[in-house]
Subunit: 228 residues, 2 copies
């Protein structure tokens, strides 16, 4: 059972202290295989991503992602989503563990639980997710199968900030991936996954580097060199 | 007023006669500038697209597209959408003019009227449209503005078969286009338009070349060389 005595005031003090721009501590949340966690671990290890992974949390004890964390010398924490009086209690427990470790940015990497307002509010614009489609097309589960069934010729990857609306937060980065005539769900998913593994560390870097703003829903980096 | 004495049986006989695989006659329908019409005219002229444009029809007398047709020596037909007892009557008139000229494939190029079942049924899988977004994202009007407001980082172009559902027919071809930080509706629309002008003749060629099938919603060309 979580300890509910921490009131909102105390919580925000902790957030404020742990979130200076120099803080590049990540918390990664997984439910399964954790291949995007591995992409983040690898990007940190080889210097593409200047960050540290403070903790990996899973709602499933048997998640391969926890094993990946241990192998990389990262704390691996199992917090069952069952047995709490409400989702809010579970969210508070997650937020507390992440804050204790000074996490600035929470990266969802195949975390199969919806987060409620308590978690979202605990990390304002500080939770990020990766989705295997070009949102707003094909939100929710089985995005690759949705894309194949719809018959699109281009799909892709979206990294976005997490809000309480499913797969609908501001978009940090997108990459397109072609759909081939011969594709099955498996071959398409594999091609998208390659792009996910490139896109996620890049997007996390953009978020940590700061200098970004939201103009309406548009994620902009006014100080960055022009693209094109 | 249209002549309603042609019954369905007669109509289908005409369609059957005018639609052998060797028929590569297009009808293009425009309401405005007709830059995608121009892309088709140019592709035919320089040999990229083995087809002939039998007629250009507009619901607006002042459409620049009609002028483009005349300049290219193509019959330009103005058929006002107003003054008919119903949309069905208007659709019959359009279908009749297209059939008279032996048109096999109807290409919408900025034609701003919804087509009803009468036109759709008159050209089964024979009406094609181009949309300035990666459908199913951003159907309907102002797709470029919708994409900017949503904050996507990738948008594009879709060429699709026309059904009675708005912008929801099977997809022939899609091309992605990046959205830049500095984009306005104007700059993004211009970048998408370049891709439209490439994509439309390509998609029309695929349709005319035949050897395609629909598997559910998926447009497939089983006989074509593998992509990749």
């Amino acid at each position: 059972m979580p300890d509910d005595r921490n009131d909102a005031g105390l919580d925000f003090a902790v957030v404020a202290k742990s979130n200076p721009a120099s803080n590049r501590r990540l918390g990664v949340m997984v439910s399964g295989r954790g291949s995007n966690l591995q992409a983040l671990i690898d990007a940190v290890a080889d210097g593409r991503l200047d960050a540290s992974i403070a903790v990996v949390i899973s709602n499933r004890a048997e998640a391969e992602g926890l094993e990946r964390a241990r192998r990389a010398g990262i704390e691996a924490l199992y917090i069952n989503h069952r047995g709490w009086p409400s989702r809010d209690h579970y969210d508070r427990a997650l937020a507390e563990e992440l804050r204790k470790r000074g996490v600035r940015l929470v990266c969802l990497a195949g975390f199969m639980r919806l987060l409620g307002p308590t978690m979202i509010d605990a990390f304002p614009q500080g939770i990020v997710n990766i989705h295997p489609a070009l949102l707003p097309s094909f939100p929710g589960l089985d995005a690759q199968r949705q894309a194949l069934d719809y018959g699109v010729k281009v799909t892709g990857v979206t990294v976005h900030l997490v809000t309480t609306a499913l797969d609908a937060g501001p978009i940090i980065l997108q990459r397109s991936v072609p759909v081939l005539e011969t594709d099955t769900v498996e071959t398409l998913s594999a091609r998208i996954l390659v792009e996910e593994h490139r896109a996620y560390p890049e997007a996390v870097k953009l978020l940590l580097d700061g200098q970004w703003t939201l103009a309406g829903r548009r994620f902009l980096r006014p100080g960055s060199p022009a693209e094109g």
